[in-house]
């Protein structure tokens, strides 16, 4: 079985490669179309025409477009994303510094979404036919129409400002620093044995992660509820009851496992969106991740960073989809090869 799944993963990766190439072409073309001259931007104002021409040659801008793309792609594959115009540092390094924060945030957001969404779906299902079902239903519909940046603001207002319960800026209190080991703050805190900082880091992540999760939660809840309603009428559920399987187990083992399948594919798509959602949420929470880096770069027309960040976002979405596909295959035997 594991060999089979490995095969499927490899196949999915094989599909992902041309997709990535396509994305890279798009990024390349879009950035060529932007009316901003990268050469002029990276030259001091007093540069001569010869200087400019020299740099053009150095950057390969005199070559045909296809050729330029090939060179650009070659650099990227070597891990060379160019230098940031604003910071003068290699883009690869800049992204490497901010990506872990974003990953941490997105993972925590996805965990929250799952931890609230799945039990919420079961709760919705359990309430079926009761008067309270209506209320929860209306509530979840309402929740569904709120985008994550509104959640972010709302959470700041309530938990940050009104009750002053949780911090809503940065990753740590200003007077606290943790030596960088992996870049993943939570991990670094544990590695350095600083529990206070660990708890502080968590406190700082709670609101942004929750804001990310809340956009997805009602979708998960409602889909799981409707899948459970479908599944509960299936013959195998009746048969499990007729075999004397206790009701709780009928739901948790027989109904839920089947109802999870459609929910799982939804979660794959949603977590891709959720990763994209970090962009605005990071800005709102002044959270030093990839999103903030990207927004900063857009402000400065820092093309190399924009390029790099766009590629990383695309890669992340593809990776998330791949991961969800694999989980889907593991839990759905129908997709495995018939023996």
């Amino acid at each position: 079985m594991s060999g089979e799944i490995l095969g499927i993963v490899l196949r999915r990766i094989a599909v992902a490669i041309p997709l990535m190439l396509l994305v890279s072409i798009l990024v390349f073309i879009v950035l060529r179309l932007i009316p901003a001259d990268p050469v002029a931007m990276s030259m001091p104002p007093n540069a001569t025409n010869e200087d400019i021409e020299a740099l053009r040659r150095e950057m390969g801008l005199h070559l045909p477009v296809m050729h330029q793309y090939a060179i650009w792609l070659g650099h990227i594959l070597e891990g060379d994303l160019g230098r940031s115009i604003a910071f003068g540092q290699p883009v690869f390094k800049l992204i490497g510094q901010s990506l872990p924060a974003t990953i941490e945030l997105a993972v925590l957001g996805a965990l929250f979404a799952t931890a609230i969404g799945l039990p919420g779906g079961i709760l919705l299902f359990r309430l079926r036919g009761r008067p309270s079902e209506q209320a929860v239903d209306v509530g979840s519909t309402l929740m569904m129409s709120i985008p994550e940046f509104l959640w972010a603001l709302f959470l700041i207002l309530v938990f940050g400002v009104a009750f002053n319960l949780l911090p809503f800026a940065g990753r740590l209190p200003p007077d606290m620093t943790i030596p960088r080991v992996t870049g993943f703050l939570l991990l670094d805190c544990l590695l350095t044995g600083d529990l206070t900082a660990f708890l502080e880091a968590i406190r700082h992540m709670l609101l942004p992660a929750l804001a990310l999760a809340l956009g997805t939660v009602p979708l998960i809840m409602r889909l799981l509820r409707s899948s459970l309603l479908d599944v509960i009428g299936e013959d195998y559920v009746t048969m499990a009851r007729l075999r004397g399987v206790p009701e709780r187990r009928v739901i948790n083992r027989h109904a839920l496992r089947n109802a999870l399948l459609p929910t799982l594919s939804l979660m794959g798509v949603q977590f891709g969106f959720l990763f994209g959602g970090t962009l605005l949420v990071e800005v709102i929470y002044s959270y030093p991740g990839l999103g903030n880096l990207m927004v900063e770069a857009v402000r400065n027309t820092d093309l190399p960073i924009i390029q790099g960040a766009a590629l990383v976002f695309a890669l992340a979405v593809l990776t998330i989809n791949l991961a969800v596909d694999v989980v889907y295959i593991v839990v759905n035997p129908k997709l495995r090869r018939a023996r």
Binding site: E234, T238, M239, L242, G244, V245, R257, P333, K334
Partner: protein, 602 residues
């Protein structure tokens, strides 16, 4: 002392503000090691009996009277927990749909393991041993391999054997099997029934066998109870009940069932159909009265009770039915419509072939091509009904689709009334519509629910150029309804507003609209109750007598084919393995497959 006893049970629900007894005064007993059949048409309340025993009545249904005792304990008074404790252990169930009754995401092994643990077996290894033994006891080869499989990797027959193995695994006192073979092929059905007989013989288990098939029940059970509209109308020893039915309903059931041997007589079909749940409330007396051929004035209001008419045999009724029944009104033997052998065939199929090369699966692996129809040749004379028999997947429906032009054949020729209509549908559509029409299997899905019946039956007049005017269509619709025995007031109704049998008549009327030379009927009676089936079969016979219509009648039911068709072709794996005059093929089958099919008929 019986194992299970239902005493005067009423199960009641409310509909439209009225109390309705879904089950009325049901009394039934199953002894240790006894096999008891509950027989009745759809909606008679058979499954409700099973749900009552399981303690799983649908929402809004409750027992309002009577008792259910199991091993001398009152099930209805038992705490729900204790009652659930009996399920799977002391009382086990075999389901109607084996393929969908196993959890698709759990391996067979995991489901066995859960079940055996529920039965109190400790130790994973010990449970595995028991599961292997159980699978072995139902004659499933290579049980160790099966335990690792998932339901979709098993056939219907394998699933049902596995479920039967589970049911018997706990050595239950009682097994309730609700239509355990209805979803299976004839041959598989016969094997599964054999298996149930065998396992039951070797144990002390009492078995309640719920089915719509009176013959099948009579073949396997010691005693039978016949249900109609929520009541048991007759009980008695199986053999006597089948050979000498007493209640008028039982008699009509027997009479409506075309046999596989003996003289072919015209079926005695009851009028109308069994009332639905809401109709029960208007029948305070004998619920069968509206359809009863021997009713008298008092029957509709009279309180009926089961009375012992002959020692050991009980009949519910208040009128003529309580006297020992007179012999069935004799029906004349049907003349076999001998087709005109000299006339050129109206339909001639020669070397028809179709292979499906269905692309790739989701992993991009090429699927093996499926040879659905392989060199099929067949002639139908004017006014002749030819039966095409085979199990599901044998290619029957593909033949029908090829004849209608819904698929394009890879090879061979189709000639109707001298015209070659082999080509793709668009090219031959005009000719086809006037020559050959299809009656679909499932009238429910074949009829647009948003159109009135008058419009539906004259649909083919829409494609005429210029299109037919409405008064003309209306007149044609009236004529068609008359031909198919539908009341004229159905003309303005929607498909959902008529019964299943009437819907099938609408379906037939629609096919008749263009006065085609040939009809292709694909399993058109398989979803119907026997009494309604008899009506439709008689309708088809009348149609043949009145006009020289020809038909290819596709069915898996040999007795129905024998009743209707003068010639039969047996299909297996895309090929016609045997064809000839029906009587000859049925009396002296040549091919092994035909022999197996005939042997499997109950």
């Amino acid at each position: 002392m019986s194992l299970l006893a239902l005493n005067d049970v009423n199960v009641t629900t409310e509909a439209g503000g009225r109390r309705i007894d879904v089950l009325r005064d049901v009394s039934l007993a199953v002894g240790r090691g006894e096999l008891v059949g509950v027989v009745g048409e759809s909606g008679a309340g058979k499954s409700m009996v099973g749900r009552l025993i399981a303690g799983m009545l649908p929402k809004g249904f409750a027992t309002s009277r009577g008792s259910v005792t199991f091993l001398d304990r009152d099930l209805l008074a038992m705490a729900p927990r204790e009652r659930t404790g009996l399920l799977g252990d002391a009382i086990a169930f075999v389901p109607q749909h084996p393929m969908t009754s196993l959890n698709p995401v759990l391996s067979l092994g995991a489901q066995f393991d859960e079940h055996l643990r529920r039965l109190g077996q400790d130790g994973k290894a010990a449970r595995r041993e028991r599961a292997l033994a159980a699978l072995d006891s139902v004659h499933l080869p290579r049980p160790a391999d099966l335990l690792g499989r998932f339901p979709h990797q098993l056939s219907g027959g394998q699933c049902q054997r596995a479920l039967i193995a589970m049911a018997f695994a706990g050595k239950p006192d009682l097994i309730v099997a609700d239509e355990p073979t209805t979803a299976l092929d004839v041959i598989t059905q016969a094997r599964v029934m054999e298996l149930i007989d065998e396992l039951q013989r070797d144990s002390e288990t009492g078995l309640l066998f719920i089915t719509h098939d009176l013959r099948l029940a009579a073949q396997h059970c010691q005693r039978l109870a016949v249900m109609y509209a929520g009541e048991i109308v007759e009980t008695g020893p199986a053999a006597a009940l089948l050979s000498d039915p007493l209640h008028p309903y039982t008699r009509s059931l027997v009479a409506a069932n075309p046999g596989i041997a003996g003289p072919v007589r015209r079926l005695a079909a009851l009028p109308d159909h069994m009332p639905g749940l809401s109709g029960f409330a208007d029948l305070p007396g004998c619920r069968f009265a509206p359809r009863c051929p021997v009713r008298d004035a008092a029957c509709a209001a009279a309180r009926t009770a089961l009375t012992e008419v002959v020692p050991g045999r009980f009949v519910r009724g208040a009128g003529a039915c309580r006297k020992q029944a007179s012999a069935l009104a004799g029906q004349d033997e049907l003349p076999r419509a001998a087709a005109d052998a000299a006339a050129p065939p109206i339909l001639s199929v020669d070397g028809l072939g179709k292979t499906f090369r269905s692309g790739r699966d989701w992993l991009g692996r090429r699927r093996a091509p499926v040879v659905a129809v392989d060199g099929v040749s067949l002639d139908i004379a004017p006014g002749e009904f030819v039966g095409l028999v085979g199990e599901s997947g044998s290619g029957k429906s593909t033949v029908a689709r090829l004849l209608l032009g819904l698929e394009t054949p890879d090879g061979g020729r189709i000639v109707v009334d001298g015209q070659d209509i082999t080509g793709p549908f668009q090219r031959t559509a005009k000719q086809r519509i006037a020559l050959i029409q299809m009656i679909f299997q499932d009238p429910q899905s074949a009829l647009n629910p948003r159109q009135r019946i008058g419009r539906l039956v004259t649909q083919s007049m829409e494609v005429r150029r210029p299109p037919a005017r409405w008064p003309e269509r209306l007149e044609r619709a009236r004529d068609l309804l008359g031909q198919t025995g539908l009341p004229q007031d159905t003309i303005g109704r929607y498909p959902v507003q008529v019964s299943g049998g009437q819907r099938q008549r609408v379906n037939i009327a629609r096919a008749l609209c263009t006065a085609p030379k040939v009809l292709v009927a694909d399993e058109i009676v398989s979803g119907l109750d026997v009494s309604v089936q008899a009506q439709i079969l008689n309708l088809l016979l009348d149609m043949r007598a009145q006009r020289q219509i020809s038909m290819l009648f596709i069915s898996h039911d040999l007795s129905v084919v024998r009743y209707l068709c003068s010639r039969v072709a047996i299909m297996n794996r895309g090929q016609i393995v045997e064809q000839g005059p029906t009587e000859q093929v049925f009396r002296a089958p040549q091919h092994d497959y035909t022999k197996a099919l005939l042997a499997a008929v109950p």
